[in-house]
């Protein structure tokens, strides 16, 4: 059965209205951590050597995996809010305190999948084709392929985070398998849900990024709503 984007977003807005203050605290904390990560990555400026470039990518990947722990904490908060449960700011640290290895593995899988999806693009960009138009066409095609493949992988993995939050006895591998099974035939529904936030993201950029403090809770609550809908349909 198809999952309605508008119903999920409507439920999410209903959950958020009247409780924005607590949700803003979570998204502000998450954005703050993200900015710190960007600052750290920028400390390792590219000096033109391949080693420096690779080192920078590795640092960025490690930080992304670590940030995944806090993002999982935020997901826990928004899932609990959707269920009408109280969720203090300390929930942000729960995945870090309780079996962080499970979340780290899922984060690593996500990063590795991203790298694999964009690997052809990275490899081709190292070569020079005789014709500039051919180069451009190949790069565009590979970029589209990379984005589409990464979106599909991210959508397949997305419920795994919530499964880990819901069941503390579940291993990372089992969560990934269950997530893939849950998402069979519903990947496009989640991609459609994510795409419906493009307008909000553009608006948030126009506010010099400050708007993300409000967009993030809406997005995460919608993701939690999607997961709840998935669970209902099992």
């Amino acid at each position: 059965m198809k999952i309605s984007t508008s119903t999920i977003k409507q439920t999410a807005r209903g959950t958020l209205i009247g409780h924005w203050n607590e949700h803003i605290a979570f998204s502000a904390a998450l954005i703050g951590l993200e900015l710190i990560a960007v600052w750290i990555v920028n400390l390792f400026a590219v000096t033109g050597t391949a080693t420096a470039f690779i080192f920078r990518i590795v640092v960025a990947a490690i930080l992304q995996v670590l940030l995944g722990l806090f993002a999982a904490g935020a997901k826990r908060h928004f899932l609990r809010s959707l269920r009408g449960e109280a969720s203090p700011l300390a929930d942000l640290l729960v995945p870090l305190m309780k079996q962080p290895d499970r979340y780290l593995i899922v984060g690593l899988v996500q990063i590795a999948a991203g790298f694999l999806c964009f690997a052809p693009l990275l490899l081709v960009s190292l070569f020079r084709f005789p014709n500039a138009y051919v180069t451009l066409a190949v790069l565009i095609v590979l970029s589209i392929f990379g984005i589409a493949a990464y979106a599909a992988v991210r959508a397949t993995i997305a419920p795994a985070w919530f499964l880990l939050l819901d069941d503390e006895s579940l291993s990372a591998g089992a969560a990934l398998k269950k997530s893939a099974a849950l998402m069979r035939g519903r990947v496009w529904d989640l991609i459609r849900l994510a795409l419906s936030f493009i307008g909000y993201v553009l608006l948030a950029f126009l506010t010099f990024g400050i708007g993300f403090v409000w967009v993030l809770p809406y997005y995460y609550t919608s993701l939690a709503g999607f997961y709840e809908e998935l669970c209902k349909q099992i």
């Binding site: 409507q10 807005r13 209903g14 958020l16 209205i17 009247g18 924005w20 909000y200 608006l203 948030a204 126009l206 506010t207 010099f208 400050i210 708007g211 409000w214 967009v215 809406y218």
Partner: protein, 194 residues
């Protein structure tokens, strides 16, 4: 001919009817009130438009049922409205895009099913603010291109040393000089520069 005792017919339903016990009278009143409540279409736009215009009752009055979303206000719609005002006010300073984007975002987040009246007005005000900014930018580019300043500047930029740390400042100054050379007379307005 037997004469029946005179008993006045009670037509006012709000008063006890002839032969009606007091308990029945209270029950009847209660039933009538319930029926009236059920028949009242709280959800209709007409009812609430009339209700709000008449100034009766107050928000949250249990005697009047829930106020439909169309007429409710929340923090988000209030913030959107405020941003709308700021967006319109700051059109001349070029900040309307910032407040306008915030306002549209807040207005979109303020709705549950559909936009409230305040949010809808805010959406329009913020939309006008954003559109005004976009129009200003488009007109500025059109003016630069049609006047030839754009081409002149591009030629100058191509001939510049981009490794110079002052390159951006030099380009900015050159652009300002070009605009003043082209439109200086008109910008002065008084016609004193002859």
């Amino acid at each position: 001919m037997s004469e029946e005792p005179f008993e006045p017919k009670q037509t006012d339903p709000s008063k006890p009817q002839p032969g009606e016990s007091y308990a029945d009278y209270l029950k009847r009143l209660d039933d009538a009130k319930k029926k009236e409540e059920e028949a009242r279409d709280y959800g209709s736009q007409e009812y609430w438009a009339g209700f709000m215009d008449s100034g009766r009752g107050r928000s949250g009055d249990p005697n009047y049922g829930p106020i439909p979303e169309e007429y409710t206000m929340n923090g988000m719609s209030k913030a959107a409205f405020l941003c709308g005002i700021l967006s319109l006010v700051t059109i001349v300073f070029g900040f309307s895009i910032f407040f306008g984007a915030f306002g549209i975002l807040f207005a979109l987040l303020s709705r549950k099913k559909k936009f409230g009246r305040q949010a809808r007005i805010a959406l329009w005000m913020n939309g006008i603010g954003v559109a005004a900014f976009v129009l200003t930018v488009v007109l500025a580019f059109y003016t630069l291109i049609s006047s030839g300043i754009w081409d002149t500047m591009m030629k100058k930029i191509r001939g510049m040393d981009m490794n110079d740390p002052n390159a951006a400042a030099i380009i900015e100054q050159e652009l300002l000089d070009e605009i003043l050379n082209k439109y200086g007379m008109q910008m002065s307005g008084s016609g004193s520069q002859v």
